[in-house]
């Protein structure tokens, strides 16, 4: 048997799930825990094959509650960790996704979305968990969620998800979908030295002086791992900067405000999107994940026919690119939002447009919109 390195530099033809696994390894992930579920199983399968090559741990847990908790534990021991799931498993992970937010534990949670609710439509595509990603765990908090549109982006943005999680000390979500997960395309894996990696800030003070939840100027505390002599104390209860439980309204105010602000105040660093043909656009298609691919074709076709239309493709859906949407709404006449759900992110687009333009929802279930379906709507709008 040939031992393969962590970074498989070269040109590959692989599906989005495998690209996600390779991205994780390239980012330094050395602990994967998961429970089989379509359409995310290939990520676990890839990890079970690859982890022994790189000296990492693959563990198939008894359920998704266990998967989520074990990746939190692994990260606390200083090892970058990830889990991957779909609808029902994502629901089971929600309570302890919140524990990761509260204890500020870096790790990555991948959701290859399928149709729901419940067992729903295991083998077909969905984008129905976008609001669950934002609000699925109880309480108030901010999240980071990325929505790749291709296998290449699965590779690239899995690395970015690890970097953001390490930088901002929280579990980061990759909200992909079945089409992107199962589609096979060209994936270019760069040289190891060309991959940009961020690792968590380590304590600057000695044990005894260091506090696990004392923020620096950027609102992010440095993180000591278990076994380093810092005698950290952590709890899912509301706590002070030492990590001691503090059952006061003041402590809740200080902690939750900081957990929200560390994302809100850094959103320019976090948010990523692409724009296409937008300068003169009267009509904007706002899309993410696999529908962004059809949207791009539709926009190209429409522009060939002389229609002034542009594509706003969100790569970060949470935190939501509020300011950019307002700017688009101020210039455009209409924003069209195709999604594989009954309309979720369209509500955010509406909220952020502040009534400055018309917002049209283009819901669809279980299938991706064809470019012509989107094109027809563009034409209708442009003639009206």
């Amino acid at each position: 048997m040939k031992i393969k390195p962590a970074v498989l530099t070269g040109v590959h033809f692989m599906n989005g799930d495998y690209a996600c696994a390779e991205g994780a390894l390239a980012a330094g992930c050395r602990f994967f825990a998961g429970y089989p579920i379509t359409p995310a199983t290939e990520i676990a399968e890839a990890m079970s094959r690859r982890m022994p090559h790189v000296g990492g741990i693959f563990i198939q847990m008894e359920d998704e509650l266990a998967s989520m908790n074990s990746i939190l534990g692994a990260s606390c021991a200083g090892v970058k960790s990830m889990t991957a799931t779909s609808g029902p498993g994502f629901s089971l992970m929600m309570e302890n996704f919140g524990l990761g937010i509260m204890m500020e534990i870096p790790c990555v949670l991948v959701n290859i979305q399928r149709g729901g609710p419940s067992t729903g439509l295991p083998t077909m595509v969905g984008q129905q968990d976008m609001m669950q990603a934002r609000w699925g765990s109880h309480g108030d908090y901010e999240v980071i969620a990325l929505t790749p549109s291709s296998p290449q982006e699965m590779f690239d943005y899995t690395i970015k998800a690890f970097n953001l999680s390490e930088k901002y000390r929280l579990p980061v979500l990759i909200m992909s979908d079945e089409i992107v997960g199962h589609m096979t395309e060209r994936v270019v894996i760069p040289n190891e030295e060309d991959i940009f990696i961020i690792n968590r800030k380590k304590p600057k003070n000695k044990p005894g002086k260091y506090l696990m939840f004392q923020p620096e100027e950027d609102l992010i505390p440095c993180m000591a791992n278990a076994g380093e002599g810092y005698k950290v104390i952590t709890t899912g209860l509301t706590h002070d900067e030492r990590g001691y439980p503090d059952m006061s309204a003041e402590a809740q105010e200080i902690l939750i405000t900081r957990l929200c602000d560390k994302i809100r105040k850094n959103k320019d660093d976090i948010i990523e999107y692409t724009v296409f043909g937008q300068d003169d656009a009267e009509i904007i298609i706002a899309a993410y994940g696999s529908p962004a691919r059809s949207a791009l074709s539709a926009v190209s076709l429409a522009r060939k026919e002389g229609i002034k239309v542009g594509l706003f493709r969100m790569i970060t859906v949470w935190p939501f690119p509020e300011e950019k949407v307002l700017e688009l709404a101020t210039r455009a006449r209409v924003i069209i939002v195709p999604e594989i759900n009954k309309g979720q992110i369209v509500h955010e687009v509406e909220r952020c447009s502040k009534g400055r333009c018309q917002v049209i929802s283009l819901p669809k279930l279980a299938r991706i919109h064809t470019p012509y379906e989107i094109l027809n709507v563009i034409k209708e709008v442009s003639n009206s």
Binding site: M1, K2, I3, R30, F31, A33, P52, H53, I57, I59, M61, E62, D63, L65, A66, S67, M68, N69, S70, I71, L72, G73, A74, S75, C76, A77, G78, V79, S81, E95, N96, L99, M103, N225, A226, G227, E228, G229, Y230, K231, V232, I233, T234, T235, G236, L237, Y244, P245
Partner: protein, 278 residues
């Protein structure tokens, strides 16, 4: 602070977190002391010891222990601990939690971690009820016991925890009561130094929530009960160690065996590749 105010285990306690939240007469203080003594006597590098719990009165123990501590969510201490241990095998990982936490909401994790023989140490305080939420019945509550959710007497059959542990594959299975201070301390020490999934059950008084409703008296009365009714039966089949309300309490060491752990059994591709070359 005078010499008398300093607890002999002070270096292992977060003294600035005292007073603790536990009721007077609760067994948790004694159990905690036994654990601290065992940790102290084990000779382990304290910086490499980590304690994890779920939620409950017992679950507060990590927060008072001056080592790396993680107070996680209800039922989830074991998978969290599994992640810690597998990610850094140098760590000695202890899970200290309640009967409800480990065997109701967290029961699935317990049996699977035992099956895998993950090298972690479980200490379960069995006070026969959900202490923290005010005394509801749980998976170890004996038949007929009165709790706030079994006002006419519990009609569910309880788990015999040592049998569950043994049946799931634990390599070390022990039961003591809070009264058996010396034996408990020794067993915890032994478990900490043993490789594999170890399980210690501590039968412990909860006078506030369980004792009061079942006319077991205060904490001291319960200790007297343990003195009178516990019988040591090392090595017996754990299935013969089941418990009931007002019956005898079989204690002792039931299982102490060796088998490869989860990490021992990991595929070692590097040596496989070497072998293939030859």
């Amino acid at each position: 602070m005078s010499q008398n105010d300093i607890h002999p285990m002070d270096k292992l306690i977060r003294a600035d977190r005292m007073p603790h939240i536990w009721c007077s007469g609760c067994g948790l203080g004694t159990n905690f002391s036994c654990f601290l003594s065992a940790l102290d006597q084990s000779g382990l590098d304290i910086d490499k010891c980590v304690i994890v719990s779920g939620i409950g009165c017992t679950g507060r123990i990590p927060g008072y222990t001056n080592i790396d501590s993680y107070h996680t969510t209800h039922g989830r201490a074991i998978p969290f601990a599994t992640g810690l241990k597998l990610a850094n095998p140098e760590l000695t990982v202890i899970v200290f939690s309640g009967d409800g936490d480990l065997f109701a909401i967290g029961g699935n994790h317990f049996i699977h971690a035992a099956r895998r023989n993950v090298d972690i140490n479980i200490i379960c305080v069995n006070n026969f009820n959900y202490g923290m939420t005010g005394g509801q019945f749980g998976p170890t509550t004996p038949l007929d016991a009165i709790t706030t959710t079994s006002p006419y007497g519990n009609y569910e059959h309880p788990f015999n925890l040592v049998q569950v542990a043994a049946g799931s594959g634990a390599v070390y299975v022990v039961r003591w009561t809070s009264l058996h201070v010396r034996r408990l301390t020794n067993s915890i020490k032994e478990a900490l130094l043993k490789k594999g999934f170890t399980f210690i059950e501590i039968i412990s008084p909860c006078p506030t929530s369980f004792g009061r409703r079942n006319k077991l008296g205060d904490g001291l009365d319960e200790m007297k009960y343990y003195q009178k009714y516990s019988v040591i039966r090392h090595g017996i089949d754990p299935k013969d160690a089941d418990l009931c309300l007002n019956g005898k309490i079989v204690v002792g060491k039931f299982i102490d065996v060796d088998k490869p752990t989860f990490l021992d059994n990991q595929p070692d591709l590097v040596s496989m590749a070497e072998k293939n070359k030859k």
